[in-house]
Amino acid sequence: MAIIQFKDFSWTYLNQPKPAINKINLTIQEGQFIGIIGPNGAGKTTLAYSINGLIPGQYHGVKEGEVVVFDKEVEDYPRGDLQQKIGMVFSDPEAQFTAMTVEDELVFGMENIGLSIPEIRERLEWVLELTDLGPLLNKPPYELSGGQKQRVALGAVLAMTPEVMVLDEPTSMLDPISRTRVFKVLEKTKQEKNNTVIVIEHSLEKLVPMADRLIMLYDGQVLLDDEPRAFFNNMPLLMEKGIQSPGVIAFFHQLIQGGYEHGLLPLTVDEAAERLDLIFKRALETVKS
């Protein structure tokens, strides 16, 4: 079922000569895990904000076309309704921490949507287990690392059980281990809840194995839209537009180019290691014979 549809959608920020998003047509199905990549300024954040109503709600500009979420135009939703369906996590851990302690932060969203105390308690427990934040419950934001704050943000949004999660560069300000932990939470969520997840990221190594579909935005337009292995077959285009592919993918692409291997690209180190083993075993047999 198509839950998000962009129909000829364009958005130009006030006083900007060029549109940030230029006549995009895109459909997002329920339950998909989607990665959106592209250079800075390509329109990724604009796209994300258009899904949950921040655009045009909070920003001035010119809109053309339609953004339909759950069969209703984004602008037709009464205040506060759409945000319950679409959860959003932003890139700055500091700026999205809206309360004074971890517990208050996790509970804030739930209070906003009017849940009762028993319901809040139940969801709080679930989210704590998911994000592994138990011991930090009473800590104020200034005692948390960036990674911990991002997990809190993730937990706070998940606690509202939105049907769609949109994450705008959730790990760009984090160190690699914190990044891994955030993605682990996303994996757990994907397994448990199977809701629709849209992640905007620059660092692709963790994202690619999890994604069902990758979309590349450039200059406000969709240049590529495919499942990961097919997506990375377009290496020349990706390199031209400045997309840094994950190491193993770039490596195998070169192997394929050089004729040492053919077939689908591996998405993880494990896969790549197995394939390398096969390549070498085959080659050794050929030499022997």
């Binding site: 506060g80 932003f90 921490f97 906003n112 009017g114 934001p141």
Partner: protein, 282 residues
């Protein structure tokens, strides 16, 4: 050690067992007491009583040293404004003359009365801030059913204060890293240059507030409209129970206040005319 708004309070402190509402109630009511007491000896007793309460709550009394310079300068300003700048009153008794201006006993007396009135009010405020964490303030406000917006704005003000302070430190370092050095320069120069801090602090706050507003909206917080009328569960209040001790203390504070009013206005105590201060000068 629990971090409070103005410092630290050890975990074993008796104050931690008290519901935040009581702390707020104490602040609001007891800080009014000096307004009804004129006699400085009574305000002095009140002041000492509050200091004793602070000591009982295991606040580190050493930090009171920070307030001594403030107290002294404040007292000096009050004294000067009441005496040297206090005008000519032919019917007052002159104590002595300074720079050709007469120093009247009545004005000195009045200055003392005002000063010793202010001390307990400030002490109550310091007591509250030294024993309350940010969360306590919010819980206290929610328990008196203050509108959520008010509570929230207050909490955010507290939070921003911390962030701005941190920004300020970093900006200062950034300036120094560009060779900016105020050592040995005049005060006027320093003040002029401080205006420069405003630009980066403003820039940072502006950027942050945009993201912050987006985050609020993304958490479903609606400022107006139907969604804003939702009944909030106030989950944080579940951690605090209004116990018998709290009820007792609240009643006690209220009774104390009523007693004070009775003593003052019906029985006539604690007024200026009957005060012991007149023992200083007949």
């Amino acid at each position: 050690m629990n971090k409070t708004l103005l410092g630290y309070v050890p975990k074993e402190s008796p104050i931690n067992a008290i519901h935040p509402f009581v702390k707020l109630f104490f602040l609001l009511i007891v800080s009014l007491f000096p307004l009804f007491i004129q006699a400085p000896e009574w305000n002095g007793i009140l002041f000492v009583a509050i200091l004793l309460l602070m000591a009982y709550s295991r606040i580190n009394m050493g930090i009171m040293r920070i307030y001594v310079p403030v107290a002294i300068s404040m007292g000096t300003i009050i004294l000067i404004s009441y005496t040297i700048l206090g005008g000519i009153h032919p019917d007052y008794a002159i104590l002595f003359n300074v720079l050709g201006r007469p120093i009247y006993w009545e004005r000195v007396r009045d200055a003392l009365v005002v000063y010793i009135r202010i001390l307990p009010m400030i002490a109550t405020m310091v007591f509250f801030l030294s024993t309350s964490r940010e969360r306590d303030v919010i819980v206290a406000m929610r328990s008196i059913k203050a509108p959520f917006v008010v509570t929230y704005v207050f909490a955010m003000a507290l939070r921003s204060a911390g962030m701005v302070l941190e920004d300020f430190h970093i900006v200062r370092q950034a300036e120094q890293a560009r060779g900016f050095d105020t050592t040995g320069k005049s005060l006027v120069y320093k003040i002029r240059k401080y205006v420069m801090y405003m630009i980066p602090l403003f820039a940072l706050s502006l950027r942050r507030s945009e993201e912050f507003t987006n985050a609020l909206i993304a958490r479903g917080y609606a400022f107006t409209g139907e969604a804003a009328k939702v009944k909030r569960a106030d989950y944080v209040l579940t951690h605090y129970q209004f116990r018998n001790l709290d009820k007792l203390l609240t009643t006690a504070i209220l009774l104390l206040f009523v007693t004070l009013l009775v003593f003052r206005y019906i029985l006539g105590f604690m007024g200026l005319e009957s005060s012991l201060i007149h023992l200083l000068y007949q």
